[in-house]
């Protein structure tokens, strides 16, 4: 965990510096002694940098004292595949529409969650997204993403 803490602290310090630079460029209020739009972000920068430094010091101290016993945490292949499938699904939504992209996405997720029966996967992956589309689009009148096919 100590190694992760150091990485996180450095990332947060970099983010804090970028956020401070953006905050400094915000417009100021011309009334004297009144806080402008940059006031609260600058308070946040102070807190963020202070806490990130504390995390960095703690992480380095833990590393030096040999308290970093955690195995490096990595996403499992299944998790990585799910994240990738989600990304592809979101990218396909505006073009393929809700129904088509959801049917494919649902089938992929079913396989990742341990589905092994092709017939069940085919039926469920078609029925559930179509049923959700009908319920939300026509039952609740909620507009869902529609692609070139219109659904």
């Amino acid at each position: 965990m100590a190694r992760r803490n150091v990485v996180a602290a450095l990332a947060l310090l970099a983010f804090g510096a970028w956020y401070a630079w953006l905050s400094a460029g915000l417009p100021e209020r011309h009334m004297p002694n009144t806080p402008g739009p940059s006031f609260f972000p600058l308070v946040i920068v102070t807190l963020l940098v202070g806490l990130a430094l504390a995390l960095l010091i703690k992480g380095i101290a833990d590393l030096r004292s040999g308290r970093d016993r955690d195995a490096p945490g990595r996403l499992s292949p299944g998790a990585l595949s799910a994240v990738t499938a989600f990304l592809v699904y979101l990218g396909a939504l505006p073009f393929a529409g809700f129904v088509v992209s959801s049917v494919i996405f649902f089938a992929v997720l079913m396989v990742l969650y341990g589905g092994r029966k092709p017939l069940l996967i085919g039926v469920a992956a078609t029925l559930v997204p179509v049923a959700l589309f009908v319920i939300f689009r026509y039952g609740f009148q909620i507009v869902l993403p529609h692609g070139v096919l219109g659904f």
């Binding site: 972000p41 806490l51 997720l109 507009v143």
Partner: protein, 499 residues
């Protein structure tokens, strides 16, 4: 009688509201008992529905789910020794041994009855305390409100984290996110990078869906969690209707649990699991046979179950009167109400007293439906424990996309939801709690607004926060909360092996 009380009651007994409460309770029992599903996820899944329902029906539906979810968690704890929700962990201690002895029906009956008792006691506290607290809160000025929100934020950070630094960092990241969009006082654009979608800021519910649901979907992909845990839960059990002798036997533990749960529910951040374990401990101390606790006694089921249901009513008190969420679920409820243009807080009782009392009475009906549906439908509900994740998880994934898209009919919200999902995964990797970030998203805009209004009114004089008695009290409480959290953090680290 206050006309708002009557109007609120009438709203809560409208057939549409009662039906929504009953459906919510039914779904809550299912959500609560399925390990891997949390009440927060259940509510997130239902959120798109609430966009099209009227506010009374929306809140009735969500309250039904909230209340029954707490009870549902005990079913899998008793039958499988797997708590459906973290709040049901203490219930498994005695519930599962009872089940192993062939007394699962008895344990389930006591669990349902104690949940009802906890819910009703906390309803009475909610009904009696909330309007009076709201009246006091109406006197608060901007400095008091700033200090109050700060207190809510600090106490939550301390409780929500195993590391104080990470808890506070999580909250600060949340505060940074809420600065995106128009500034709440002057309306000037901040951190929008000339993107029109960012002008309205990051929608709270978009972030919420991503932070909670995506990591949970990924978490459920772990090899040990695949499949359905409840395949052997359909085992036969006797009558779940509790015997009179058992009810008499658990009256004291149930009362202890109800009172402890309500009180701890009022404190932001304590939550059901802590209340359940503290109540279990008290029930054991007050018992004539404490040595039997852990081996399967009904008192050990009644106390934590009464407590975790009482927490729900307790958590509604600061939410309704001060706009401060007591736990993640009430934070989501605030978001759901904001969608309908209703901001929980002291003004809600003044401006929409009928609605505020309607919420309180809907909470009462949620407890009634929870009791009836759980007792009558438990045999059917338990069969649902065998629902395969292979169907459940992809459905939740699709509902997350529908929920985030339907907020503003915008792909931007869907992408933002996924981005926050990745943030949630990164936070999990770092063992950084998500709850402070979520609460900062809820409380952040108020915190900035009250801070800047107070400083503008005092011409930049910081003394304004120390001269008001209310503000001073909340600031002292904030300092106490941080110091206490820091002390707990140190104690935990010292107690840890090698720490």
């Amino acid at each position: 009688m206050n006309p708002d009380v009557l109007a609120g009651f009438q709203q809560s007994v409208l057939p549409s509201s009662l039906l929504a409460t009953a459906i919510g309770a039914f779904l809550g029992l299912i959500v609560g008992m399925i390990p891997g599903m949390t009440i927060s996820t259940g509510i997130i899944v239902l959120l798109p529905l609430t966009f099209v329902l009227d506010p009374n029906m929306s809140i009735a539906l969500l309250l039904g789910l909230y209340v029954a979810g707490m009870t549902g968690g005990s079913f899998s704890a008793i039958l499988l020794n797997i708590p459906g929700t973290p709040s049901a962990s203490a219930t498994a201690t005695d519930g599962y041994p009872l089940s192993r002895r062939g007394e699962a029906g008895r344990a389930l009956g006591i669990s349902i009855s104690a949940s009802f008792a906890g819910g009703i006691v906390s309803f009475l506290c909610l009904f009696l305390i909330a309007p009076n607290l709201a009246e006091i809160a109406l006197q608060f000025q901007a400095p008091d409100l700033f200090s109050l929100v700060l207190f809510g934020l600090t106490i939550i950070c301390g409780f929500a984290s195993r590391s104080l630094i990470k808890g506070l960092l999580s909250a600060v990241i949340g505060l940074a996110i809420v600065t995106i969009g128009q500034d709440p006082v002057m309306g000037s654009a901040r951190f929008t990078f000339d993107q029109a979608e960012l002008l309205a800021g990051i929608h709270f519910l978009t972030a919420l869906i991503g932070l909670f649901a995506i990591p949970q979907l990924i978490d459920n992909l772990r090899p040990g969690l695949l499949g359905s845990p409840g395949q052997d839960a359909g085992s036969r059990f006797g009558s779940v209707l509790p015997r009179l002798a058992d009810l008499v036997c658990v009256r004291l533990p149930a009362l202890i649990g109800s009172l402890v749960g309500t009180f701890l529910g009022i404190l932001p951040g304590v939550g059901g699991p802590i209340a359940a374990f503290i109540s279990y401990d008290y029930a054991k101390k007050f018992s004539k046979t404490p040595e039997k606790f852990g081996s399967g006694v009904i008192e050990g089921v009644a106390a934590p179950e009464a407590a975790n249901n009482a927490v729900a009513g307790g958590a509604l008190i600061p939410m309704m009167t001060l706009g401060i969420p007591g736990d993640p679920v009430t934070a989501i409820l605030i978001g759901a109400l904001l969608i309908h243009g209703l901001a929980p807080g002291p003004l809600l009782f003044m401006e929409r007293g009928d609605f505020a009392y309607g919420v309180i009475f809907s909470y009462f009906w949620a407890n009634i439906f929870n009791l009836v549906i759980a007792l009558a439908g438990i045999r059917f509900l338990v069969k649902l424990l065998a629902t395969p994740k292979v169907l459940l998880m992809p459905t939740i994934a699709i509902l997350c996309v529908i929920g985030s898209y339907a907020l503003r009919n915008s792909y931007f919200d869907v992408y933002a939801m996924f981005f926050f999902g990745l943030v949630g995964l990164a936070m999990r990797w770092l063992d950084m709690p998500v709850v402070p970030l979520l609460l900062a998203l809820v409380l952040g805009p108020q915190l900035e607004e009250h801070l800047r209004i107070a400083l503008t009114g005092s011409h930049g004089q910081i003394e304004v926060f120390f001269t008001s008695p209310f503000s001073l009290l909340f600031l002292i409480l904030s300092v106490c909360s941080v110091v206490w959290s820091f002390w707990l953090d140190r104690r935990q680290r010292n107690a840890a092996p090698g720490g």
